[in-house]
């Protein structure tokens, strides 16, 4: 059990658990003590000496990262000796540092720049030429190394050794000849790009972001990675209406401070050619249409099928990529149509025992928690059988996961005999050309909502890129269709729908959006993934 003790830092009393590193206690209290080699998720190195502070009772300066909190400690971070030590450390680090700021991608988020301005000597004294080492070295499929910029904090070495347990990066030689390099294996582990996050300078750079744009142009938004059901917390960097980069943010309950490379690179689909306006297929080929035309056609088609063959002739493929609120509204729409055969196609891939999960969709569990699908395969086989047996005449397909799960040929064959098909996708899919109506979908970066990850943690995503003007989000499309079917006049508000979900479903009880905050919160009894409580919609 933790024992909380009181220590005094710069005259301020803070409470900290006994035995934690003093630096961590100070950082948690909001005191920004400069440090390079310390990282909360890696072992303690003590190599940079930058976090030196004066502790009363100890004769020399102590490094705060390797000093454990004990009751009654009196710490001074602004001591003259500590300030001088910091200046000295920074001067020595800058002595051999190459004059690369104009070409280095880290400028703007570089710890060396920030600390040098605040704690450094601000005046260069050295006139000697700087050491020459390797630059822009190809050390991995996704990573580049600049040995001259490395300040030898060894964070990347510890990362490769302790987190990914692959040990690619090593420090060779000793003393002033120390140099960072790869050993026998290249830096190709599935988390290799995390080394660029933890590197305080621009020594380790990702190829993806190499010479792309300056970070001070970015608008940053907190969101959740859509790549798999782990739901790693990320920050989305946006500029000029596109996404340029994703990087992880800290969530000790989900991903610590890491994310996998495929998730990190999985933002390109947001920028790629997207379906920009609804399509209608009346004459054999899809053609552009206005929103009202497409909505009329879709509502008309669904109502026609319902009236002719009954609601049970309508099936739907729910997307595990849409938010919980949007799928809730979709469920309401399908219930209003009387549809019973609901399924979800979740693409699956390789998993590991760290962060990468097999389900390559962010909100599969969210759909299950809403009670929309059931069964081992989320009702997919049952739906496919019904379609092939001719009991389903109309299908509303959200997303292109069907293609990834059953293949392109099967998908085309599946849709062929149907009376009415409506699809909602990010891109224009040739296999869906038969669809009577194709709606453009929004990506995770273009809406507010909640994803539920594999462990039952509900986390919020936020708008990072504005969708084009006049665009309807997926939830708005469902709402508009519902309006036409049930003669309502509603708009889609994720906040209102979430309150509805939280009020009606015992699993989501007490989970207001404020409570979810930026780090999310677990559902009630998340371990229990037993028979779902079917949500009862208010009448």
């Amino acid at each position: 059990m933790e024992n909380i003790v009181q220590i005094v830092v710069d005259g301020r009393t803070i409470a900290a658990p006994e035995g934690v590193p003093l630096l961590q206690a100070m950082l948690d209290a909001g005191i920004d003590v400069p440090h390079y080699c310390y990282h909360p998720k890696l072992s303690i190195d003590g190599s940079c000496r930058l976090c030196a502070v004066k502790i009363e009772g100890m004769p020399k300066l102590q490094i705060a990262c390797n000093t454990q909190v004990r009751a009654g400690m009196l710490v001074h971070t602004d001591d003259e000796e500590a300030a001088q030590t910091r200046r000295g450390v920074l001067e020595l680090l800058l002595l051999n540092h190459p004059l690369d700021c104009p070409i280095c991608d880290k400028a703007g988020e570089c710890w060396l720049q920030n600390y040098s301005v605040r704690f450094g000597s601000r005046r260069g004294r050295s006139v000697m030429p700087r050491r020459k080492l390797g630059k822009r070295l190809d050390i991995g499929e996704r990573m580049l190394l600049d040995q001259e910029r490395c300040i030898l904090c060894r964070r990347c070495v510890r990362f490769c050794r302790e987190i990914t347990k692959t040990g690619e990066l090593l420090i060779f030689n000793r003393g002033h000849r120390s140099v960072l390099d790869i050993g026998d294996s290249r830096l190709d582990n599935p988390y290799s790009m995390c080394t660029a996050d933890i590197c305080p300078v621009g020594a380790l750079e990702t190829r993806d972001f190499h010479h792309r744009l300056r970070v001070w142009f970015f608008t940053q938004t907190a969101s959740v990675c859509p790549g798999c059901s782990n739901g790693c917390n990320i920050m989305v960097d946006e500029c000029y209406g596109q996404i340029w980069r994703l990087f992880p943010r800290r969530n000790d309950a989900v991903n610590d401070t890491w994310m996998c490379d495929s998730g990190r690179l999985g933002y390109r689909f947001v920028n790629r050619p997207r379906l920009r306006h609804p399509l209608i297929n009346e004459s054999g080929a899809p053609s552009a249409a206005t929103w009202s035309e497409a909505l009329e056609r879709a509502a008309g088609g669904l109502i026609r099928v319902r009236d002719t063959w009954g609601g049970s002739a309508i099936g739907a493929l729910i997307s595990p990529h849409l938010t919980t609120e949007e799928n809730f509204r979709f469920g309401e729409l399908l219930r209003a149509l009387g549809a019973e055969k609901l399924a979800m196609a979740v693409p699956r891939g390789a998993a590991d025992n760290f962060l990468i999960k097999a389900e390559k969709a962010a909100n599969a569990r969210g759909v299950r928690e809403l009670g929309l699908v059931s069964g081992e395969d989320d009702g997919l086989n049952s739906l496919l059988q019904s379609v092939r047996a001719g009991r389903i005449k109309a299908l509303y397909v959200c997303g292109e996961d069907l293609l990834r799960v059953i293949g392109a040929e099967q998908t085309a064959a599946l849709l062929q005999p149907l009376e009415f098909v409506a699809v909602q996708t990010l891109r224009q899919i040739p296999e869906y050309a038969r669809a009577a109506v194709a709606f453009p979908a929004t990506s995770f970066a273009e809406k507010n909502g909640v994803f539920v990850n594999h462990a039952g943690r509900a986390q919020r995503i936020a708008v990072a890129v504005d969708p084009p003007p006049g665009w309807m989000s997926d939830g708005e499309i469902f709402t508009q269709l519902l309006n036409r079917i049930e003669s309502r006049a509603e708009r889609f508000s994720p906040e209102a729908v979430w309150s509805q979900i939280a009020a009606g479903n015992p699993r989501f009880a007490g989970l207001s959006l404020d409570r979810l905050g930026t780090l999310g919160a677990p559902l009630v009894d998340p371990e229990n993934i037993g028979p779902q409580t079917v949500h009862t919609a208010p009448s």
């Binding site: 700021c101 104009p102 070409i103 400028a107 630059k135 822009r136 190499h210 010479h211 792309r212 744009l213 300056r214 001070w216 142009f217």
Partner: protein
Amino acid sequence: MAVQVKKVLRPPPQITSWRSGLAIIAGLWVTTRHLIANLFGFIRGRQDFTVYYPEQRFLHAPALRGMPVLVQMENGRERCVACGLCEWACPTSCICIFPAETDSEVERYPEIFDIDMTRCMFCGLCEEACPEEAIVMSRQIEISTYSRGGSLWHKEDLLVPESRLRTRIDFLRSQYGR
């Protein structure tokens, strides 16, 4: 204190008209003097104050801040490495840079470097911010075009060989030592 307050001197009120007549004659003498100097001054080599533009051009000081241009090195490439400081320093945001990677030793170059001259106010902050001596204020001040699009200068239009920017670069280098 070496600062005095001094009353301004007014000429006496004009009681008699001969004083005002004298003032008019004095004024006419001034204008006549100028007239003779302008008409016949060419005999003694006096130049007109007016500069007959565009046949004559005014010789500006080396400090002249003309249009911003990119310095072109001997190998034909720009010296700019697309660090983005000029883009950020510009008060009117008239510079647009998209960096890209090269295979040469200089890893970074501007794939796109546009300056919107209709927004540029020739303040010279981009030149001050540049850590590479890559963008300088040339002596070009005649930049009118017939179309609005002609005022959007791309990288190819902005490249000027260093030899043609000697005056400005020498002036800048005289200030480097501060």
